[in-house]
């Protein structure tokens, strides 16, 4: 950035946006990649395996229990007797004893399982519930025409006394699904097969016990003897292995656990692939949103920087035209607060400069005007003053005291208005000048003109702009007293008021018909007053006051208040 200080605004914005977006993305991706592969998956795997083991053990113990009960029933004397006799009448006579034996053995488990007894011919059929028709051997003369546990048992060696366990038969009995069947054969004393004892374990005996784990998408009970399978999570799904394709995909996400003492085993499809799939999806979504975000940020950067540079350009253009001297320029509101502040400040600055320039121009014009007037009126001052001196000399030599004094006073008055070495005068000098003026006027008007000047000695050395008092007195005589009958009084009063100096000139003349405002003075007949006002304004700005008080016919008072300036 430092190497390229003129980088565009949009470039910078894009870079900032990218930093803001990429940092959390990189953090997220690296975090999940590391944790997912190492930790979560392994932990999930271990958890899944142990959950499946537990399920397998649980099923094994249920099977073990009912296997034992099947053995107990198959050893029952009365059952063997009935099956060997294979006579329905004998059966009916012994039925109570048989039931008693069965219920004792099942010990109240009949809501979990159903126990059935059937003779080889199917003539004797007893069950704790309704006798399942699939076991009615009379109906299945051909033992292959039905796929049930008796058929399965027949395929195995005839002399094996051990129980046969199968999930092949997915019957619904009394609204309940049979999950696992256990079969035990009964034999006569001669070793002839007499019948079968079958215990059907209902699915709701096992399924609620299976870990309702969120770890697996499916848990399947498999019979490796019959290549049959049933889902323990969705029990309505069953059939051969083709029903569960995941069993054969060889993925490392399939867990298996053998159920001890049987041909059964549990297989479970882990959620891991789903999670992984989810993860991939999320990553994809994130990547896409990142790309969209980048695109949006680039567009936004351009829009933003364009909107800024557009406004900036307008400001710069305004400043340029201001630089060229167009003071009418005014920056409009832009709708961005910072820019508006800039605009407002700029507008104020323009106004200030304009006022300043106006004032300077005015002052220049005034001084040019004054200079022109001075040049026009300047009949060689040397000649003027030397002539006055000669008149004075003549008057004195001829004993003309009035002429002599008047000449001297006139000389002082003229000198002070011509003398431009200093714009200031002490009050002593100003008062002397006023007296010179009044004494000359008194020569004309005699005792009709009376005046008083009040100023304490300590104020005499205070400096004020020169020619302030005299024009006020002149104004009083010219406009206030000139038309008035009777005595003319002029009072000049100067006093201190805090850090201000008050100068007031009062007369008892005709007064102002209406008090003029200062702007109106310029073009009125009171140019003397305006001249004083304007010079004070140029010198003090707003730090002074200038007021006129008057009652028509009763006189007027012009008061000025200015800051004190001590003579150094």
């Amino acid at each position: 950035m430092r190497k390229n200080p003129t980088a565009t605004l949009s470039g910078r914005l894009i870079i900032y946006f990218l930093i803001v977006m990429l940092v959390p993305f990189i953090l997220f991706v690296s975090y999940t990649l590391i944790n997912y592969d190492r930790g979560i998956e392994n932990a999930t795997r271990a958890q899944a395996e142990s959950a499946l083991e537990a399920d397998a053990e649980m099923i094994a113990s249920v099977i073990q229990e009912y296997r034992h009960k099947a053995y107990t029933l198959s050893s029952s004397e009365i059952i063997n007797e009935v099956l060997e006799a294979n006579d329905p009448d004998i059966t009916a006579a012994s039925l109570n004893r048989i039931y008693e034996d069965m219920y004792v053995t099942m010990a109240g488990d009949t809501y979990k399982v159903a126990a059935s007894i059937v003779s080889v011919t199917g003539d004797v059929r007893i069950s704790t519930h309704n006798f399942p028709s699939v076991y009615d051997l009379r109906m299945h003369s051909n033992e292959w025409d039905s796929s049930n546990i008796i058929t399965i048992a027949s395929r195995r060696s005839g002399s094996d006394r051990a129980s046969v366990i199968s999930i092949e038969d997915h019957r619904i009995e009394g609204g309940r699904q049979v999950l696992i069947s256990i079969l035990r054969r009964t034999f006569s004393e001669s070793g002839r097969l007499t019948g079968y004892v079958i215990i059907d374990i209902m699915s709701d005996t096992i399924i609620p016990e299976v870990n309702e784990s969120s770890l697996f998408t499916d848990v399947v009970l498999i019979d490796t003897g019959t290549f049959s399978a049933v889902s323990l999570i969705h029990p309505q799904r069953y059939g051969d292995f083709s029903e569960f394709p995941f069993l054969s995909d060889g993925s490392r996400d399939i867990y298996r656990a053998a159920i001890e003492g049987t041909d059964l085993e549990l297989a479970a499809a882990s959620l891991t692939p789903l999670l992984r799939e989810n993860f991939r999806t999320w990553t994809l979504i994130l990547a896409v949103s990142l790309i969209i975000g980048i695109a949006i940020s680039i567009i936004l950067s351009f829009i933003f920087s364009r909107s800024i540079s557009k406004r900036m350009k307008r400001i710069v253009e305004s400043m340029r035209s201001f630089q060229k001297g167009d003071f009418g320029i005014k920056l409009e509101k832009t709708g961005i607060r910072e820019f508006d502040e800039l605009s407002v400040t700029f507008n104020i600055m323009v106004r200030r400069i304009e006022i300043l320039l106006e004032r300077t121009r005015e002052e220049e014009a005034k001084s040019a005007e004054a200079e022109r007037k001075a040049l026009e009126s300047q009949m060689n001052p040397h000649f003027l003053f030397n002539t006055l001196n000669t008149i004075k000399a003549l008057a004195k030599m001829h004993g003309e005291k009035e002429i002599y004094l008047t000449t001297i006073r006139l000389g002082k008055l003229l000198r002070s208005s011509i003398d431009n070495r200093s714009g200031s005068a002490t009050l002593r000098e100003s008062i002397e000048l006023v007296e010179c003026y009044l004494l000359i006027q008194k020569l004309r008007f005699g005792d009709k003109l009376q005046y008083a000047i009040i100023c304490s000695d300590e104020l005499m050395d205070i400096e004020t702009p020169k020619l302030i008092l005299q024009p006020l007195v002149e104004n009083s005589i010219t406009h206030g007293l000139g038309e008035k009958l009777g005595t003319w009084n002029i009072d000049v009063m100067i006093r201190k008021d805090g850090d201000k100096l008050l100068l007031a000139v009062s007369d008892n003349g005709v007064g102002f018909a209406e008090i003029p405002d200062m702007a109106g003075l310029e073009h009125s007949q009171h140019t003397g007053l305006y001249n004083v006002y304007r010079r004070l304004e140029l010198r003090y700005g707003s730090d002074f006051s200038f007021s006129i008080a008057s009652q028509p016919g009763e006189g007027a008072t012009v008061s000025i208040s200015i800051p004190m300036e001590e003579k150094e």
Binding site: H382, F385, N389, A393, K396, I408, D419
Partner: protein
């Protein structure tokens, strides 16, 4: 008390007459010994008459009033000016002009100024009399102030050059006004009188021990011109340098 001599220089007849006739010279203890109407006449008259006070216009034919004051080495001048020019004022101050009055001249102001000047001149003369007995000048040298010692030493080393109070003020880092009043308090006379006294003493030595003429002596003792030298010499010794040399005991009149 002797009357102080005044020369008036003014090119306007009426004004000159008015000054001469209507100012109360007598009452001020003054006497107009001569009037001139141009700068050159004025300069010659001043050199010839050695007046105590010169009152002059600035604009004069031949030579302007300020130039005349400078060339004639006038010490107490009053300027009357038709139109004040800042350059003139500055130069007048440098030349040590006593007052600067603007035309039309208020004669009351002129009289007040003349009165003040006259009193000062009389006092200066009293001071001079106090250190001179007509044969030689005795200057007070055992002063208390360290700074005045420095000043006296400086004068002793540099009197043959053009020196002013401002040079010593710079040397001692005192203000001119403070130095001036301190000098008067310590030595009884003012700086210019002291400087002139040192110069006159040096001139007396040269008058009696060398054959240098008056112009040479004036130059080598730091006087701006022989006329001024003669005037100051007479002020202190009551006679001109030539008279003084001629009256030296055992000295034969050569010329």
């Amino acid at each position: 008390m002797r009357k102080l001599k005044v020369v008036l220089v003014e090119d306007e007849e009426i004004v000159l007459r008015e000054l001469e006739e209507t100012i109360d010279w007598e009452g001020l203890g003054l006497e107009v010994v001569g009037t001139a109407k141009d700068g050159i006449e004025g300069e010659n008259m001043i050199k010839a008459l050695s007046p105590d006070i010169v009152v002059t216009d600035i604009k004069l034919p031949g030579k302007n009033g300020l130039q005349m004051i400078e060339d004639a080495a006038v010490t107490n001048g009053i300027i009357l000016s038709g139109y004040t020019d800042f350059e003139f004022t500055k130069r007048a101050i440098r030349l040590g002009v006593f007052d600067y009055l603007e035309k039309p001249v208020d004669d009351d102001e002129l009289e007040a100024s003349l009165k003040t000047l006259a009193i000062r001149i009389i006092e200066d003369e009293k001071d001079m009399d106090s250190i001179s007995d007509g044969c030689r000048i005795v200057l007070k040298e055992d002063v208390q102030s360290h700074w005045i010692k420095v000043a006296i030493e400086y004068i002793g080393k540099n009197y043959m050059n053009q020196i002013a109070l401002s040079d010593i003020a710079r040397e001692t880092r005192l203000s001119e006004s403070h130095l001036s009043s301190l000098f008067k308090a310590e030595t009884g006379i003012n700086f210019l009188q002291y400087l002139n006294a040192v110069r006159i003493n040096a001139a007396i030595r040269l008058l009696s021990s060398s054959s240098m003429n008056v112009s040479e002596i004036a130059r080598s003792t730091g006087f701006p011109n022989p006329g001024y030298f003669t005037k100051i010499f007479r002020r202190f010794m009551g006679k001109t340098p030539t008279e003084y040399r001629n009256e030296l005991p055992g000295k034969e009149v050569v010329d």
